[in-house]
Structure formats: C-alpha cells, structure tokens
Symmetry: D2
Amino acid sequence: MNTLDRNAKGVYLITVTPFTDSGALDLASTDRMVDFCLEKGVTGLTVLGIMGEATKLTAEESRTFVRQVLARVNGRVPVVVGASAPGFAPMGELTRAVMDLGAAGVMVAPPPTVRTDDQIVAYFDMVSETVGPQVPWVLQDHPVSTGVQMSPGVILRILKNAPTCVMLKHEDWPGLAKLSAIRAASDKGELQRVSILTGNGGGLFLPEELTRGADGAMTGFAYPEMMVDVVAAHARGERDRAHDLFDAYLPLARYEQQAGVGLAVRKHLFKERGVIASAMVRKPGPKLSAQDLDDIRFLVQRQDKRLRDLG
Amino acid sequence: MNTLDRNAKGVYLITVTPFTDSGALDLASTDRMVDFCLEKGVTGLTVLGIMGEATKLTAEESRTFVRQVLARVNGRVPVVVGASAPGFAPMGELTRAVMDLGAAGVMVAPPPTVRTDDQIVAYFDMVSETVGPQVPWVLQDHPVSTGVQMSPGVILRILKNAPTCVMLKHEDWPGLAKLSAIRAASDKGELQRVSILTGNGGGLFLPEELTRGADGAMTGFAYPEMMVDVVAAHARGERDRAHDLFDAYLPLARYEQQAGVGLAVRKHLFKERGVIASAMVRKPGPKLSAQDLDDIRFLVQRQDKRLRDLG
Amino acid sequence: MNTLDRNAKGVYLITVTPFTDSGALDLASTDRMVDFCLEKGVTGLTVLGIMGEATKLTAEESRTFVRQVLARVNGRVPVVVGASAPGFAPMGELTRAVMDLGAAGVMVAPPPTVRTDDQIVAYFDMVSETVGPQVPWVLQDHPVSTGVQMSPGVILRILKNAPTCVMLKHEDWPGLAKLSAIRAASDKGELQRVSILTGNGGGLFLPEELTRGADGAMTGFAYPEMMVDVVAAHARGERDRAHDLFDAYLPLARYEQQAGVGLAVRKHLFKERGVIASAMVRKPGPKLSAQDLDDIRFLVQRQDKRLRDLG
Amino acid sequence: MNTLDRNAKGVYLITVTPFTDSGALDLASTDRMVDFCLEKGVTGLTVLGIMGEATKLTAEESRTFVRQVLARVNGRVPVVVGASAPGFAPMGELTRAVMDLGAAGVMVAPPPTVRTDDQIVAYFDMVSETVGPQVPWVLQDHPVSTGVQMSPGVILRILKNAPTCVMLKHEDWPGLAKLSAIRAASDKGELQRVSILTGNGGGLFLPEELTRGADGAMTGFAYPEMMVDVVAAHARGERDRAHDLFDAYLPLARYEQQAGVGLAVRKHLFKERGVIASAMVRKPGPKLSAQDLDDIRFLVQRQDKRLRDLG
C-alpha cells in the first residue's frame, strides 16, 4: 500500500502541521489528525506543503513531524513529502532523509526564477537527477504561488524526460483545458499515463476536474469527506449526486479558500471538529476576528442542515 | 439620479462590451444589455473595465461605446467609466471626454509601478488633481490585477486627501478585515463616509461583505439579479434568505470566475439569455471548448432547478 | 533612406520628448533635438518609447510630436515609432496613423501577461497580423521592463513566422550569449538575417555586443556621438580604439542609466548641451537634487578631460 | 575586532563559496580566499549571501563552510552570515548556530511576500525578536532581488524599533537619494546612527555613495582592492583620486555585474588570480563561453595597463 505510482487515485489530503497554543509542535494532535484523515477515507497524505507551514519549521522539527506522521500511518497509505527547495543540494538532502524514514515519494514545484519553456524543462531534468532513479516524485503545477506558467507541452516534455515522475498535482486555476490536454496525450499513447490529482484549493473545481480525467484530489479542506464522497460518486457515474455533495460544502469551502486567512479558518475548523488541540498558526500568519468566527459558525450551521437534507 | 455620491448603494454592474461575430462593436446588443441590466434592478453601470475589454478598443470605439451606453441609459442610473491609464495626460483626456458625454464619474486603479505607501498616496493625489475638482471618482483596490497592496491606512490617507473620491471598489480578495477597518474609520468620524461596493468576482463573498458594511456590489456576473436580490434580502435583514439566494447561484458564479475563460463564460451566458447577439471575445482571448459548454449547460440546469425550489 | 530593413546599422537614437518648463510639448526643442542627432551621425530615430514618456502623452500630443519629428527629419533617416499597446485595436490604430505620417516602421514589446513560449509566439503572430503585410516592425526584447523572458528559440520562432519583422532590439541585460545564438542561426541559414540593434541602456555593453554581431545600437544617451564613434571604430576593426572611446564615456553613461532618475539626468544633459530648452519630466517623474547636479558636473568635467586626452 | 557595530566602515567583501571541479566544497580554497581578502585590506567578510550560492548548500555544508571561514579569520575581522529564510524558525536556528561558531552578526532581507509599509515593519519586528537581544544584525535593502520597496521612512521605522540593527546594506539601485535621506535622519538626531555599507554590485556607484555618507561597501568583486583603495582615497578627501581608481576598474566591474553570468565571471577571475582552485558554479548556474573568456582577457589586459599608468 505504501507506494506512489501512476495509478494513484482518491484523495491525498494536504495536512496542516498542528502546534500547541504556545507554538510548539503538537505530536498528539498530529496522531489524531492522521487517524481522522484515514477514518474519513483519504487514500494518501501530503505533508510539508505551503499549507503545512513547512517554511516555518526548523530542520529538526520537519524531521520530527514527518517521522511522527509516518509512524502513525504505519504503511496504511502513501505519504508524500514536499521537497521544493531553492537549491538542489538541500532538495537532495531532504529527499534522502524522508525516504529513509519511509515516505512514498516527494513533491516538487518550480522556483519563481525559471521562466522560459527550456528553463522549466531543464530545471525538472535536474530534479530527476537530484532525487535519483529510485524515488517517485510528484510534479506540482501551481502558478498562483510560483508565478511559473507551464504550458501543456512543457508538462509533457517534463513527463517524457522523467520516468520517475508518476503524478501531476494539477493546480493551475482551474485549468480544465490543460487537464484535458494532458490526459489526451497519454490516451493517444504519446507518453506513459500519470496519475493526476487536482490541487485547486478545497477542491473548488473537483467535479469538473474529475469529468476531465483527474484521478482525484490532492489538496486540503477541513472536511476531507467531501472530496472522498465526490470522488466516489463520480466513480459510480453519479454526476448529479457528485454535484449535490459538492454544492452542499461549497459555501464553506469557498470561505476556507480565502487568501490570507484560509489556513486559520482550516485550523479553526479542525479544532472545532476535535481533530487538533489548537488552531495556532505560526507567525507570520493570520488571526481570525470575532466577525470571522461568526461567519464560520453561520456557514457550518447551514452546511450541517444541507447535509442532513441531502441524506 | 445620474450622479455618483457617497451614498451610492445596490449593484453597479460591470458590463461587457458586445461585439458581432466578426469582432465589430455591436451597438444593438449594447442597447439590449443596458435594458436588461436596468430591468434586473441594477442601480448603476460601470463600463470600460478589464472585463469590458477596454484595452482592446480603439480610442474611437471607446467613445462610440460610451456614447451609446449613456444615450440608452438616458440618465436613469449613474454610469461610471474606467479611466485607469499609464499616464495622467491620457487619463485627463479620457475623463474630460466621458464627463462631457454624461458619465457620472470615473474609476481609477493604481499602476503596477507604485509600491510603497507614500508612492501610492502620491499617485492618487495626482489622480485627484488630474480629474479635477468637479469629477467624482472611484478608487479601485484590486491587488490581484494590479499587484499593488493598499493597506487600510493607505486607503484612509487617500480618502482624506481626496474630497471628490466618493466610492471604494473593494476588490482585495476577499479582504473582509480590510472592509471592516475602513468602515470603522468613518463610523468613528475619522473621515467622511464613502460608498463601498465590493468587486470580488461575481460577488463570491457578497453576503459576508454586506455584513461587514459594504453598500452593495460593483462587479460582473451573467445573473445580475442574484446580486440585486442578495443586497435586497440583506437590506431587509433576512440573512438566511440572502445566503439561500447566494448559494443557489454560487456553483455557476464560481465557474464564471475562472481565470482565463471567465469572460468567455459570461458572454456565452449573456448570449444564451438573449442579451447579446454574439459571445465573441476579441483576441487575445479565450474560446470555450465543447466540454466547457457541457459544464455550463449542466450547471445552469441545476441552478434553474434550485431557483424554482427556492421560489 | 527612409526605410527600415534587415540591413539597418549604426545608431538609432531613442529620443526624449521635450517639454517646456510648464509641461507643454516643446516643438522648437523637438526640431533642435532632431538636428542635433543627425549632426552627431545617428542613422535612425526611435520615438514614443518608455524614455520618450509615451504613456504620459495624450493621443493628440503623440500625433503632434510624431508629425513634428517626421517633418524635421524629412526623410533623411528612418523613424521608428513605439507601438506597444495593451490591445491590438489601439496598436493597429496607432500603426496606421504613424505610417500615414511617414514613419519607417513600428516597434513592439510583449505585454507582461504573456509567459509561456507558445503564448509569446502567438502574441507576435497577432502583432504581424495587426500591423499588416506592408509595415516593417522591430521586435523589442526587454525583460527588465516587460518581465517577459524570450529564449533564443522563441525569438527565432517569431522571426520565422514574421516576414515583416526586420529588426531585433536586443535589450536582455546584457544577453551576450543570446545575441550570439540568434546571429549564429541566420549565419547557418536557418532563417533570414535581421538587423540587431542593442538597446542596453546607454550602450553599456556596446563594444562587446558589436563583437558578437550586433549591427549597432538603439538606445538613448545624452552623448549619441559615443555610440556613433564606437560603432565606427568597430567597423574599422579598431577594437582598442572602440574601447578607449567607450571607456571615456562609461562613468557618465553608468550614471545616466540609474533606475528612476536616469531620464532626468539625460534631459538635464541635453539641456546643458543646448539641445532642449527645459529638462522638465512629466509627473510622475524624478527631480534632480543639488547633490545629483554636483555629481553630474563633476563627471562631465572629468569626461571632457578624458576626451581631450584621447584626441 | 570581531564585533559588528554602528561604526563599521571599509569593505565587507561578499565572498563566493569555492567548489572543486566536481562540485564539492573546497576548504583549501576557502582558506586561500580568506587570506587573499584580508591581505587586500577588507575590514569584514559576509558569507552565505546570494553570490555565495547559499541556497545550493546542504545544511551540513553551510555549517562546514562557515566554521572554516571563521577558523581561518580567527577573529581578525567580523564575519557576517546571511540568515534570510522563508520562516522565523529556520532563521532563528541558523542564527543561533552561526553565532555559536563565532559570527559577528547576521544579515536579513525581507521575503517577496511583504508589500505594504506596515507589513515590512512588522516583518522586521519579528526578525528582531527572532535573532534575540544579543545578536547584531544587518538590514539588507535589495529591491532588485526581493521585489520589496522600502521607502526611507520605512527603513527609519525599522531602525527605530530595532536597537540591535546596527547596519544597513544599501543596495537599492543605486538610490543615492535614499542614502542621503537616511543619513540626514541620524544627523538630525532622529535616530541612532547606523553603519551604511553599499551593496550595489561591484560597487558600481561607490564614489557617489561615499559622498552621500556611506561608510564603505558590502559587495563582491574579484578585485576587492579597488573598493578598499577608493574608500581610502575618499577618506583622505581625494575625490579625483577616488574616481581615477574607480574608473580604472569600471569596465571590468561592469562586465562582472552582468545578470546571469556575473558569478561565473567573478569565480573565473578569482581562479585566474590564484585565489580559488576551480571556477565551478553549482547548478543551476551559468557557464562562460569562449567569447566570454576572450572578453574578460581583453578587459583585464586593458585594466592592467590603466593601473600601471595610474601608478
């Protein structure tokens, strides 16, 4: 089970990193979060991403957190670790460390400094060389955070060059046409099929992305069961049911995707659901106001009612 | 009626610019669009914004289009004209031209080149001087498109300096905390109250923004009645009703707000609704695929059902 | 003489736009500036570029200024007009207007919004279509101002697609390797040769660029004779003489290339040299301090001495 | 001697990180480089900056390199370590580590994500808190690499808030007016004086910056003696001599400051001068072409002649 391959599907949840109110790593909450995700039916976990506050951890804390997650998961689902780094030496160092600990693979986004098609392709050739021939990796396409625009042609060039790149985290907002183009290329046999999980925040375009050929989602949301259930309904061919489920969660998912306060909203909801002990976000980070909390309470209440009505 | 003042409220719709299939200005559709908006209850119109393809019009076309809109509106609601320009000379030239034609005011966003607080404030001091003491103007705060981050403190400095700036188009995504801060300042008497209309695409945070003190919306959506009805429900104090209406339109509003194809979706929907004759978007611009059209058909069908259920 | 073709060489000076102290267009200074440039040996002029404060002119002023320059030049050298615009309609409108007035061609840089190789190539295909089959045009590659990185391969694709693109304004800072690559492609017969004029500010890499195959310079500097003389010495095969001349002007050229105040320095020097009546830069624009003026005085004095020593 | 304080002056050289041809850390060359710098008269060293390829080192390599430099310097001059990091936890971790090893202080630039005045000031308040009350630190103002524009007013706010910020690395290109404004503030007693070392690449505006009140330079150049001698001549009040020295090196300094290949030029020159054994730059990094090498040879030859003539 603990492998990352071209057939991966379902929901790989991007986890938060739980802290105590005083800002220390909270390993008990980490365990609870792992259990919660698996109970809700996720098929994988992704740690040390942007929403995991990776850049705010010391190197020692990163290792401790990854070790804890891997121990708790205990091989039940693959765990992907974010390994984007400003240089190849630290990327290689981190990759070796987490693979030794038992990670299933790493995920890499391009740095903001690569711009032309050739620069992007050359960058990922070096990523392949850096992680080495044994480590499966995920190509993260997230122009909103990286500023790097990868055309479908560039993604195909990267995938052709990199036999160990087994998954695309598709996060171009929302890029339905791009998703269709990449899927079409492997359907036509131009390259080996890869798993495509969509990363658009909270799965805000999940139903449409599944229709275009996505295998599932790799993103974060305080209600991972929404994504699990939408993917399942889609797999059963129940398009309307998939949308009904999605629509029930959409007002809150939209609220959780706000730039800036989004992570605070997510941690608050995880805390409310009893998953983590504290909603603490390390500095620099947002804090929720009384009005924000009132908005959330109201939206959750309405969501609960919709879910009851939906059955 | 045809004035722009600090008490403006309701919905100022950002209009599209209708073209024929061959790409020429379509003035008959322009008239129909004006009628449609007024029938749906908008309280103002805003033309020559980004979603109005302003930069793709010749100077002559811009004048023709503005003249047509103003003639058709015939003073029934105020018409605001986008006047952002890379220099003050063309900004002044356009402002004088459209005010002579009967516009109610102009709207200006900062250029990407201003960065520090002082640069931003100095820029808008020059805007005030450029448009002159007789012309009411709207401050557009849209960091996603301009790259310019205006803190609440900077917006307050601009407003204090500019007696003719009567409205803020609040479009920081979604910036609920900023909205609260600006409203609080005039409530405390620190400056004269201005109208705040929210511009977040398709009104994606409209109910929450109204709760924070927004007077309405200035944005585009193929179903302006949604925003009109949400604002009305909020004004009557019916919070749940406002959200029910909003939620009914949310899945489609979300789809129409996609970066890239959004304008094509909007024009397609306007055409489907019989408002404009062609969904043509001038180059460079997106085209909808068969899959996009299927997505839209499906979402509209579901929306129609929800609206019937809602009554 | 008044044509723009693939064999263009020498110095196309980017002119300033002279204003009176009160900020009005100064047509008498415009005439003097044209005469001055031709006396110094420039082989072409380029107007309405960034350093010509193009964005600060009204449409009417732009036409007046271009008309005045063309009348004074009277066919003695080609005049290129900057036609970069946020949309194709205004680009076409301006192009037709200036070609009717007698311009030799237009110059276009990509907008900041194009990013991938395919987007850039598609953009310039539309530029070709917009300016039409009769108008020679110049491809401006200036990543520092546009943010657009064009690889040598992309430039070659653009040139192959566009038979009327006869010149590259090479302004990637300093991009000697790129210059070599593009020149090599036409030497190998992969595409038709184009003229390459280097635009790096004040010709700060001019001697090296000539060695790599540039045909001359298209940039601004208050001492255009430096570039004329360096190009001439290079053409005679006098490498050391070319560098001696260049080095004599380098300290001042460096000072004039400062981001921000550079244009004010250039206009000040033009005024000191009796070329224009006022150093006025339209708002928003820099002003020179007493210390700046002292720096300039000192540098000019030292430059005069070096030029005397050089003979 | 091994302290960093508000009276620091002279030249703090930004060092390269020497590698062997196979890309390993070269500690013997590191020792030679330290000796070379001290022989040339630098008054401090700065390691792990951008030009030190800091992001390409593993955490282990960073520690090894800093330890080696500190051991070789052995307290003769202060050593500043770059500690900019995407989060405060790793910044604090690195700071504690290098201070324990004997560094004199750390240097921090803002991340690209802070934009408004208040965000910038808040960021550096957290930097102060992170490095703690015992560690002197350098504020790095380098908008070209960070994208963050700090107005003089913002810098003064940061300095007032941070008693342990003892130095400004002034690297706004070239920002002579900013330098004057900051110096004027402490002259007027508005805040405690800080050391200002200018970082503009290769000291390209060093003479003018010294005239405006800079205490020296903190930057890299393969001929640190240029900066040492220019600072000394300026200190003796010999303005013309300072410029004569500066001008003699300017053509090569300009060439070494090219974006992209600059670091390769610098390492090549260090190798030619016998300082380091290999000019190797880690990937992703530039390589010099035969034409580049010919340019450099020619420029060095001419520079040698000018220095002989100058005496």
